[in-house]
């Protein structure tokens, strides 16, 4: 009996080990294959890349700065968009490798929090500005960042950089524009302001994403609470709930509900709204005159990163007008207001689009309370 149990245990241990080694070998093989493929594909670009890196290093030396840092392992970036393009873009520009872990804002933040005793990430680049600022309050971020390209920040972006310079905005998009079905409303009956959505004629017709789950929805709620005061903001949303506001976990569900006719109006993040328009859905977008609450994408560096120089290069790269222009030109994820001057926004984006944001400290300090209040209200 004992021998048999030992056999079973030994077998399991062997299997587990082989599983691990197999997976590890697989990863290694995959990495090698990917590297080889990338190398082959980029043979032509390699010379240019190396030249660029050398030039950069030479420039750095000329400026009296230290030599180009040597990379020992890929820079690990946690992000929620642009995962398909940013590693190649950065490598092409600097020669440094980037690996990404993509997830929605909330999952990424919980992963970072769970890793806090032994962080694996080097850079976080997500549209959850208040969450990232909370990381700073916990001492998890490298402070005093002075990227060269920060000199080109727009006034809107400059105002969002914290005093300790723990992160930099790389762009902002509307966390909530008003979208309505054109087969239900015409221009005279359509909602024009957030206030109008509390009107009786929109009863049971309005939807939005859950600020507790969807990253872009929190800045929306925070903006109302900040500008109207906590009580005023709560009163606004209470009226919305009484008017039958439907709260969906994330924006994709809001899109489905609006496209499927579950609701006829929504407060939705702008990229999703424009995607609906492009897809031919019968919807129109309204940018409120007073401004749409912004969801700001920021880049920050882990305080415990072992490659701070390359991480700083990455943040600087994200603040490069050429980088932001390329991201805007990419596709639907490119609907955002750049954080640096000299970048042209998407042609069909409303030129008068105005973004507004809640105060960073207010948004960060009250995040837990606002989300809890919202969650309790939506359950009642």
């Amino acid at each position: 009996m004992k021998r048999s149990m030992l056999c079973v245990t030994a077998l399991m241990a062997a299997m587990a080990l082989s599983a691990c080694s197999q997976s590890a070998a697989e990863t290694e093989a995959a990495t090698t294959a990917a590297t080889e493929a990338a190398t082959a594909a980029e043979t032509e670009a390699a010379a240019e890349t190396e030249a660029a890196a050398e030039t950069e290093a030479a420039e750095a030396s000329a400026d009296g700065e230290s030599e180009a840092p040597v990379q020992t392992e890929p820079l690990l970036v946690y992000l929620n968009d642009f995962d398909a393009v940013i590693p190649d873009m950065f490598k092409e520009a600097t020669g440094y490798e980037v690996e990404v872990v993509v997830g929605n804002g909330a999952e990424t933040m919980s992963r970072i929090e769970a890793e806090s005793s032994n962080p694996q990430w080097d850079v976080v680049w997500i549209d959850s500005m208040y969450d990232v600022y909370n990381l700073d309050l916990d001492g998890q971020l490298l402070t005093g960042l002075e990227p060269e390209n920060a000199s080109g920040l727009t006034d809107f972006a400059k105002a969002l950089v914290p005093e300790d310079k723990c992160f930099y905005p790389t762009g902002a998009h509307a966390a909530g524009v008003i979208v309505y079905r054109t087969d239900v409303y015409d221009e005279t009956t359509a909602p024009r302001t957030f206030e109008e959505l509390t009107d009786e004629r929109f009863k049971d017709q309005v939807g939005m994403a859950d600020p507790g789950v969807a990253a872009p929805a929190y800045p929306l709620a925070a903006y109302f609470m900040d500008t109207m005061g906590m009580e005023g903001g709560q009163e606004y949303f209470t009226t919305m709930f009484e008017n039958g506001l439907k709260v969906y976990p994330k924006n994709p569900q809001v899109v489905q509900a609006l496209a499927g006719g579950e609701i006829s109006a929504a407060i939705m993040q702008e990229s999703n709204a424009y995607e609906m328009v492009h897809s031919g859905e019968p919807v129109a977008i309204v940018w409120p005159e007073d401004g749409a609450p912004a969801s700001t994408r920021v880049a920050a560096i882990c305080a415990q990163t072992d490659q701070p120089e390359i991480a700083k290069l990455f943040v600087n790269f994200l603040l490069d007008p050429e980088t932001q222009q390329e991201l805007i030109n990419l596709g639907d994820e490119g609907y955002f207001e750049p954080s640096v001057e000299g970048v042209t926004m998407k042609e069909d984006r409303d030129p008068n689009a105005k973004l507004v944001a809640a105060d960073i400290v207010f948004g960060a300090e009250n995040e837990g309370d606002i989300k809890a209040w919202f969650a309790d209200m939506s359950a009642m």
């Binding site: 149990m5 590890a24 990404v100 769970a114 890793e115 806090s116 969450d131 509900a257």
Partner: protein, 565 residues
């Protein structure tokens, strides 16, 4: 003998503690020790446990989860029992289809099934836009609608478990009952059914646990009509900022309490009765052809059932996979989604490869571990076996995201690095997590099967000098063949589509199939996500059918031999 059982039981317990309990405890412990910082230790934080009576969201989530799970379990077990009995006792054209439908439903994650139902029943969905059926919208987003969809999504586990256990029946006892004048129904009610109670309870527990911990359905349907459930609330707590692992711990504790109550109830109902009946008086159940009205009923019922249970959600996804629009109302046929999915160097193919290799390893390790757990639970006198049982059930009910967070806490320790055991960020951690998820299911299926094999059979063999391995190989494995096959296939299929754990744990550049599908959906590529689901699902189902065929070759030969002699 007892000493050996204790060693074996302790070994199994240790493995389960590492795989399940330790990660969970790291999350639960956050209640009194936020961030696992001992300097923050404060027993006063336990007051948070009582917030279920204060916070409307928590109270409602608790009640909703309990009512939804109970209603789904009650209806699901009746449905699964009915289908399994029909399938085992009768030979009918849709029999094999029913098996395939159940397997497909079992492996497809609930969020994809829920999506299918939303495509079908939403305001301008397939039902209204194409079939002219109105009112589906109101039905789906209501409690009865949710229970219906949940039952159709969760019955397969119970069906597979019950069907596997019904492969043998107590022929002698049934014949005795019939000779004493009992009708077939009466004989089933008084003889067969009571002897199969452990299987039915086991199956009911499967439905209950799977429902109470389900996040996919919660996020897609229940959240829409203000019906928060515990998994959704746990997810909100984990994804809140500052992250509230303590809240997630408390809410997970509620789930654990529910499980313990369910187990006590089961223990109370079953008591210390014996349910093993396999012996000289038992026979392999032979399906017979139904006649007349019964035949018509079985065919119509199972045909319609398959159409609704699988046809609606998977069919809706299938239709969407040929569309490049967001809604059915504006459907335009395109093959573009499939062209992108099937690109030879496409990321999806890599994702499928990763998921498949993980699932194979998880199923292999899972079946060995699951068998050992079931053996200890059924045949040993190990004192802590109830504890082992509880751990396996907890692993099933606690949402994957909680377990995933716990895995980060456990396997991302600096001191593990020199030992080479810092598994976080490596594919190995996905293997461990997949095994932890697979073991409870395999265990439930096997426990149901083992309950009917008397310990005396093994003891008699031992007395004759058969070694442990010999007893397992020549007695237990042949008698549990169907259960073993079911267990392996369930673990394999379930691991391929395990979204919650892989989302939170997947290493850089190691995307898996469910993560890929989920990302595509979040990027509003609904048609593409649907095409990826169909292609991925088709691959997995094909592999499972081949596996089932291969694993049953020996069994079929034995059946043919038995039939010929």
């Amino acid at each position: 003998m007892k000493n050996r059982e204790n060693i074996g039981g302790s070994g199994i317990l240790l493995i389960l503690i590492i795989l399940v309990l330790l990660p969970l405890v790291t999350v639960l412990f956050q209640v009194v020790c936020p961030g696992l910082e001992l300097s923050e230790f404060d027993l006063g934080n336990l007051a948070l446990v009582l917030d279920v009576f204060k916070r409307p969201l928590w109270e409602k989530a608790f009640i909703n989860s309990a009512t939804l799970s109970l209603a789904t379990t009650a209806i699901g077990i009746i449905l699964a029992g009915l289908l399994a009995n029909l399938r085992v006792n009768y030979e009918f054209p849709f029999g094999k289809l029913l098996d395939i439908v159940s397997w497909i439903l079992m492996i497809i994650p609930s969020f994809i099934l829920a999506q299918g139902w939303v495509y079908f029943a939403s305001g301008n969905g397939i039902a209204k836009a194409w079939l002219g059926i109105s009112g589906m919208n109101d039905f789906l987003f209501s409690f009865p609608g949710l229970v219906t969809v949940m039952v159709l999504c969760k019955y397969p586990m119970a069906y597979v478990a019950i069907k596997a256990a019904l492969e043998w029946y107590p022929a002698e006892l049934v014949h005795a009952a019939r000779m004493n004048g009992a009708s077939p129904v009466r004989a089933w009610l008084d003889v067969q059914f009571p002897l199969c109670l452990p299987t039915y309870f086991s199956a009911a527990m499967l439905i209950f646990m799977d429902t109470v911990g389900d996040y996919g359905m919660s996020s897609t349907i229940t959240a829409v009509y203000s019906f928060p459930t515990l998994p959704y609330t746990i997810y909100s707590a984990i994804c809140s900022s500052p992250v509230r692992f303590d809240m997630a711990g408390v809410l997970s504790l509620y789930l654990v309490v529910m499980i313990v109550i369910a187990m006590i109830l089961q223990h109370y109902v079953m008591g210390r009765k014996r349910f093993d009946y396999l012996g000289n008086g038992t026979m392999r159940t032979m399906a017979r052809k139904p006649r007349g009205l019964l035949s018509a009923f079985i065919n119509v019922f199972t045909g319609l059932f398959c159409l609704v249970a699988l046809g609606v959600p998977v069919g809706s996804n299938f239709i969407m996979s040929f569309s490049d629009s967001f809604s059915i109302e504006r459907f335009e046929f395109t093959l573009e989604n499939y062209k992108r999915v099937l690109q030879p160097d496409g990321e999806l193919i890599v994702g499928i490869q990763h998921s498949l290799s993980l699932a194979v390893i998880a199923a292999l390790i899972g079946i060995v571990l699951g068998f050992a757990v079931a053996y200890i639970l059924t045949y040993s006198d190990f004192k802590l076996k109830r504890f082992i049982d509880t751990i396996t059930l907890i692993a099933m009910a606690v949402p994957g995201v909680v377990l995933g967070i716990g895995y980060i806490f456990v396997w991302n320790q600096k001191w593990l690095q020199p030992l080479g055991l810092n598994l976080y960020g490596k594919p190995s951690i996905l293997v461990l997590a997949a095994v932890a998820s697979a073991v409870p299911l395999i265990n439930r299926v096997l426990v149901g099967g083992m309950a009917k094999v008397p310990k005396e059979l093994l003891t008699a063999s031992q007395v004759q000098g058969a070694s442990f391995v010999h007893r397992i190989r020549t007695i237990l494995l042949p008698l549990l063949h169907n259960s073993m096959v079911s267990g392996v296939l369930a673990a394999f299929g379930g691991s391929v589509f395990n979204l919650a754990i892989t989302t939170i744990l997947y290493p850089p550049n190691y995307s898996t199939l469910p993560v890929y599908i989920s990302d595509s959906y979040n990027d509003l590529n609904f048609g593409y996500a649907a095409a990826a689901t169909i292609v991925g699902g088709a691959c997995i189902v094909t592999i499972m059918l081949i596996l089932e065929f291969v694993l049953n070759i020996g069994n079929r030969k034995r059946n043919e031999y038995a039939a010929n002699t």
